[in-house]
Amino acid sequence: MESGVFFTTYKADMGLRRKPVHKVRLLVFVAFLIIFPFLASRYWLNLANQIAIATISAIGLNILVGYTGQISLGQGAFMAVGAYSAGIFAARFGLPIYLNVPLACLITAAVGVFFGLPSLRLKGLYLAMATLAAQVIVEWIITHWTSLTGGTEALVMPAPTLFGQRLNTDFRFYWIAVSMALLTALFAANLFRSRVGRAFVAIRDQDIAAEVIGVDVFRYKLLAFAISSFIAGLAGALLANYRTIISWERFTIETSIFYLAVIIIGGLGTINGSFFGAAFMTLLPAFINNLGRALQTTAPAVAGLLPAVQQAIFGLAIILFLVLEPEGLAKLWRNVKDYFYVWPFSY
């Protein structure tokens, strides 16, 4: 029976997975991810892909908002840049997925840095307004630069091909989406064990103090914008390759707010919280939908009312989470782990 976690070397203390149980858990999780697509129906694969892409985007936003403390309302716009870049490279230049996605990420990173420039002078809500401007400007450019983006018409791209396989089914795309989500999570987890990641956290906690101890605040803020939008671009580019049809309506301000909700519910400044939040925000509406369908035959009167109360249920669930566990699902998960860690002799 252990009474706590003690490490005798710095290396062990800095480890990504510090205890054997972490490794076992990771193995179980990865094994589940590998087996899942062979058992799941197309509906569940579609949900899994949506969650994987939402997780990537949420991690990107979490790096900026949760770890560096720079509030952004421009996530939808950055995803749009990624999606349209990938789409244009694929449709107009015939670039394959392994080229159009990285290029889209780089372009989005550059756009992110540009819109991150106001963060030199602006903080908090004022920065939120500046990123809101990014959202509006990008939306306007996409809908009006008709020759490049197709304007308000949807941009259609060919289904991506990898290793001679057309990635046109949910099953095939699952492997791309999930492996990219895992890579992104691994990258982000390691980022915050590095000097750069710690500088981000220092800026979030107290930017003046961070500057005093030698963090180049402006440079690191821009770097946070670059990394965050690189990942947002990845999510957007994957979404484009997954759906093969891109319309700006998918990347409105509502998308930006959706992802803020994802990371708040999941847990600000946590990697697994990004996943929990994405899964929760995708599965809860799906669950309510299925409940509605189940009631269509058994209780049509209730099912008729359900669309009206559906939104309220969703809002209520979010409020309850925020009140009962403000640190999000990630904290809840930690509580469960802590509980079982000392089980059955908890105090």
Partner: protein, 397 residues
């Protein structure tokens, strides 16, 4: 701690329940499965709800008559709240459960699913009449029952030219095109409407109606000062009604206002009140105020349900007629004795020539190279708060 555990346990229970509910069934068996997504609680729920009731009404009516060649239609449907990701989830769910055809709703979901339905070979009809969806080279499995937005606008342009001449106007008529700030709003303008106006001597200018605006006086003042005598709306009912009221208070009584199909309905008349008087409507589906033979079934069905077509309105008959065309396609596949699947249904629909909907729409014709079912429609005008027929079928060609 225990409280939090309870929450966690509840969450797990919720999600596993969802898992149970979501398990898909297989295809086959007697009922014909048709998937459908409706907007019952989203941005367009005001018109989405009667449309949904119309689709469901037709299915109930057909089933009560013994179905299509003895097979019942099973409509797999759910509210998607006008959210594209939800539409995609429901689409995969219903197709996974064996839906062979799909009834969509808005521009966003129809565009987003366009590539997927072509991969899956699922014929798709929605209430988005974007011109490009009628081109099989771009959207092989989309079928338009209503007149495409571009065709509607061209018909309106033609009518304006005639009306302008009849009123003794000289030179090019000045027209303002006020549109919703979305693909839906711009689609007829960008997909051929602007070009047609230029080529045929109409001086048309587009004005965007900003999202969430509570007043259009600024836009309307600019339009008045431009000397426009016609204003064409491509938006939904409530903004159009608001603009009509603003125009009335600006005293623009010498201007003719025209609505394309999504603001030409009972709701616009109700919301705008007296300001709607004289409003011209481009209506691919005949409103219930005008009696045509194609409405008899729907009217009788609704009477048996204790309500009336007048109460349900134009969008009910729109949903009913759209589903009726899909059902006719299904019937033709069954008649031919072929296997009922998406490919054969597409072929059957493409063989549909001058199919009469009893005057609800112009006769429907689909061909392998053209999925715009009706290229003609009637114009209607509001008189004493009622839509009355103004012209016979006008064609865009």
């Amino acid at each position: 701690m225990s409280r939090k555990l309870v929450i966690f346990a509840l969450l797990v229970a919720l999600l596993s329940l969802a898992a149970c509910a979501g398990g898909g069934g297989g295809a086959g068996g007697a009922p014909i499965k048709v998937g459908a997504i409706f907007d019952l609680s989203g941005a367009t729920a005001d018109v989405g709800t009667p449309y949904a009731e119309g689709v469901q009404g037709f299915v109930k009516w057909v089933n009560s008559k013994g179905g299509i060649k003895g097979r019942q239609i099973e409509l797999l449907f759910q509210d998607y709240k006008y959210e594209v990701p939800v539409a995609e989830q429901l689409y995969t769910q219903f197709v996974g459960e064996g839906a062979i055809a799909f009834m969509g709703w808005g521009t966003g979901d129809t565009e987003a699913l366009r590539a997927r339905i072509a991969e899956d070979k699922v014929p798709f009809m929605s209430a988005s009449y974007s011109h490009v969806l009628g081109n099989p080279a771009e959207a092989p499995y989309n079928f338009l029952v209503g007149t495409s937005y571009t065709d509607q606008l061209i018909i309106i342009w033609k009518w304006i030219l005639e009306d302008w001449k009849a009123k003794g106007g000289s030179g090019a008529p000045v027209v303002a095109y006020m549109h919703h700030p979305s693909p839906f709003g711009l689609s007829p303008w960008q997909q051929g409407g602007e070009e047609w106006a230029k080529a045929n001597g109409i001086q048309a200018t587009a004005y965007e109606m900003p999202r969430g605006a509570t007043d259009y006086t600024a836009e309307l003042t600019r339009i008045r000062d431009s000397g426009a005598k016609y204003v064409v709306f491509q938006t939904v009912s409530s903004p159009a009604a608001l603009a009509l009221k603003n125009a009335a208070s600006l005293g623009m009584s010498n201007v003719t206002f025209i609505c394309l199909n999504w603001c030409a309905d009972e709701l616009a008349v109700k919301l705008a009140g007296p300001a709607a008087e004289g409003l011209v409507g481009a209506m691919p589906f005949t409103p219930p105020t005008v009696d045509v033979p194609g409405m008899k079934d729907a009217a009788e069905f609704l009477k048996s349900q204790g309500t009336s077509l007048q109460d349900k309105g134009l969008h009910y008959i729109q949903g009913w007629a759209t589903m009726a065309v899909m059902a006719e396609g299904i019937k033709r596949v069954l008649d031919s004795g072929k296997e009922l699947n998406g490919e054969n249904l597409k072929a059957a629909l493409e063989g549909m020539s001058n199919y009469s909907t009893g005057g609800v729409t112009a006769p429907i014709t689909f061909t392998p190279t053209d999925h715009r079912g009706s290229k003609a429609m009637k114009l209607f005008r509001v008189k004493n708060g009622q839509w009355e027929q103004l012209t016979d079928f006008l064609s865009a060609q």
